[in-house]
């Protein structure tokens, strides 16, 4: 379970920065304003929004990389406030950049991340064996990442994000640039996480993926929460017959009443 309340974040920007003027307060750019939502165990939340809406800032706050100016992020076991190490131990994050070290083998990557999350040598080996089977990594687990195809890298990156068996998993546009086979593997992995009772946050621009996987949808626009609810509520709210039409309506009309 995860609960996010009134999350706000602003950044200092220089005069030449290309940012929307209506969110500018002197030298400060209001990236996020009072974002709230919750996610249950075994639930997939789809995070939608146009480029520059504040999705990346939201994910960085949720991942503990950035500190919020105000608001709370909590899970069952820990808070992202203060010393957030316990919180980060429960978190797995898969970003578009994969987060793998190219000069290391897949096994070395997995080993490093597992040990850094505090797993013992024995636990690490067990997890690597388990993920190797689940994600079909065995054919290339001892090859350097730089030698792998995009699809192989993505599987290895999923392994990297899940190696410490996190309770909360965040996927940031994980299918961007992937072919259909690799995309299916990623979507299947998200489904597996859901089945395993993990809380999943999934940022994407693909509405078919949202329809396939997400239990609830969070739309962020211009740093604010425009909508949070189920797919049916989303369609009803904006009187649309498809997610694309609903999203378009949401982004044009602004915050739902």
């Amino acid at each position: 379970m995860m609960r996010v309340e009134n999350l706000s974040k602003r950044f200092k920007v220089d005069k030449k920065a290309n940012v929307p003027k209506d969110r500018l307060d002197g030298k400060w750019f209001q990236a996020l304003s009072n974002i709230s939502f919750d996610a249950k165990s075994g639930e997939v939340i789809g995070l939608l929004g146009a480029n520059g809406a504040g999705k990346t800032t939201t994910l960085r706050l949720l991942s503990g990389i950035l500190k919020a100016d105000s608001g709370n992020i909590e899970t069952d076991l820990a808070s992202a406030e203060g010393d957030s190490r316990d919180y980060r131990r429960q978190l797995g994050f898969l970003s578009g950049s994969k987060g793998l070290y190219e000069r290391l083998t897949v096994r070395e990557n997995l080993n490093f991340f597992a040990r850094s999350y505090g797993l013992t040598s024995e636990q690490t080996n067990q997890q690597i064996d388990k993920l190797s089977q689940q994600l079909n990594l065995s054919d290339f687990i001892d090859r350097k990442v730089i030698e792998l195809s995009t699809g192989m890298r993505q599987r290895a990156a999923i392994g990297r994000a899940l190696v410490h068996d996190p309770q909360l998993v965040i996927f940031d546009e994980p299918t961007t640039g992937l072919d259909i086979v690799a995309t299916e593997q990623v979507l299947s992995c998200i489904e597996q996480q859901k089945q395993a009772g993990k809380t999943v946050l999934f940022a994407t621009h693909h509405m078919d993926e949202v329809q396939l996987l997400c239990d609830r949808i969070l739309v962020i626009h211009q740093g604010q929460r425009n909508f949070f609810g189920t797919e049916a509520e989303f369609l009803s709210q904006y009187q649309a017959d498809s997610l694309v039409a609903a999203l378009r309506g949401c982004l044009q009309l602004g915050v739902a009443k």
């Binding site: 950044f11 503990g64 316990d86 994050f93 970003s95 578009g96 070395e108 490093f112």
Partner: protein, 391 residues
């Protein structure tokens, strides 16, 4: 933190560029460059020594023969120039190396020597000085003989004070003084160059590849993350400097024993492992200083390329204190022991000579250690800022 350090180390050992700067540069490239430089200089000097010096003498030659005296010197060859050709023109044309205009008789003779003072290996001036001294001495003897003095009395008159020299410096100190000017310079610059590429790779490089965000999600504080990276860069800088010292020692020993240079052999025998260890111990805080500076710059840069641009500038920063320390006449005292990097360079010089004052050495370790700690602390604070990490 230890896992991160080990991971970074493993990754860097698989990078050819790091291996080049950290291992090949001190072990092969620098010694090879120094050997080529020394060999080329020796070859040019030797060739110049063997070349005949062309000269012309103009003016009054009555009473003593300058030409005869010059001809007694080896490697001098007289050229006859056209009377209307000026000495400057003759020198510029390269027809002669020196032109000597003589006038008057001793004791009121005047010689005007035309030569090219910019030529580093020119022997002409020295030979003329020698001829002048020989002629003056023989004139003095002639005058003293006319006074009825014996040869012994003439010797006493010509050299009324006999200077006997007794140096307290042994071969180690003499050689140490000679190499002490350049050893810290080479070691610290190799350490700096050993730090630059790894610093860029694990700071700006990680930002560019998107792996820094993944690291920031680990259950580590940002301070722990930065400390691990500073430690790694300091390690590569130290390894480069240590290999440079080992390489120089090895090559010097090979040259000294291979070529049978006894003075260097004796100097090397007075060096002990503990001397090398103390030099390395002194270099250590300098490596942390370099690593902290480089990591602060690397984390600030948005990309690998931007970091490279900043590093070009950063590379010049340590030059001034190192240059100051290598100037002739600069000796270790309390003030120099407190100047960062200059103190490390001077300590290496004193350790090479075997004349290190232990009080100063401890002071330098404390001073350099403190500066390294402050810089590392500032870098950690700097890198914890979101404006720096997410520029």
């Amino acid at each position: 933190m230890w896992q991160l350090y080990l991971k970074e180390l493993l990754e860097l050992t698989r990078d050819r560029r790091v291996m080049m700067t950290m291992i090949l540069t001190p072990l092969v490239i620098m010694p090879a460059l120094m050997a080529i430089g020394a060999g080329a200089t020796a070859a040019i000097a030797s060739s110049k020594q063997q070349q005949a010096i062309n000269y012309e003498v103009r003016g009054e030659l009555d009473g003593y023969s300058v030409v005869a005296a010059l001809n007694k010197q080896k490697g001098l060859q007289r050229q006859t120039l056209a009377p209307d050709l000026s000495p400057q023109e003759a020198l510029q044309q390269g027809t002669v190396d020196i032109v000597l205009e003589v006038s008057g008789e001793m004791p009121n003779a005047t010689w005007l020597l035309h030569y090219n003072g910019a030529e580093v290996f020119s022997r002409g001036e020295r030979l003329v000085e020698r001829v002048k001294a020989d002629l003056a001495k023989s004139w003095h003897r002639k005058q003293l003989a006319q006074q009825g003095m014996t040869d012994d009395q003439q010797d006493q008159w010509l050299e009324p004070i006999k200077l006997q020299k007794q140096s307290i410096a042994d071969e180690r100190e003499t050689i140490g003084e000679a190499i002490g000017g350049i050893l810290p310079y080479i070691m610290l610059l190799v350490a700096l160059s050993g730090a630059i590429y790894p610093a860029i790779d694990i700071g700006a490089g990680e930002k560019e590849r998107g792996t820094l965000e993944t690291l920031l999600m680990l259950p580590l504080t940002t301070a722990e993350l930065v400390i691990a990276k500073i430690a790694l860069v300091a390690t590569t800088a130290f390894v480069a400097a240590a290999l440079m010292l080992i390489s120089l020692t090895g090559w010097s020993a090979a040259a000294a024993y291979g070529l049978g240079i006894e003075v260097v052999q004796e100097a090397m025998q007075s060096f002990q492992i503990v001397d090398l260890m103390l030099i390395l111990l002194t270099v250590m805080p300098a490596c942390v200083i370099f690593a902290s500076l480089m990591m602060a710059i690397s984390f600030y840069a948005r990309s690998f390329k931007e970091a490279q641009n900043y590093m070009g500038f950063a590379f010049t920063i340590p030059f001034l204190p190192l240059l100051l320390a290598s100037l002739p006449g600069i000796e270790m005292d309390f003030v120099w022991a407190m100047i960062p990097l200059s103190n490390v360079a001077l300590a290496i010089k004193e350790l090479a000579k075997g004349t290190m004052n232990w009080g100063y050495l401890v002071l330098i370790w404390l001073n350099a250690g403190f500066i390294a700690w402050v810089l590392a602390k500032l870098t950690i604070g700097w890198c914890q800022r979101e404006q720096v990490l997410f520029r």
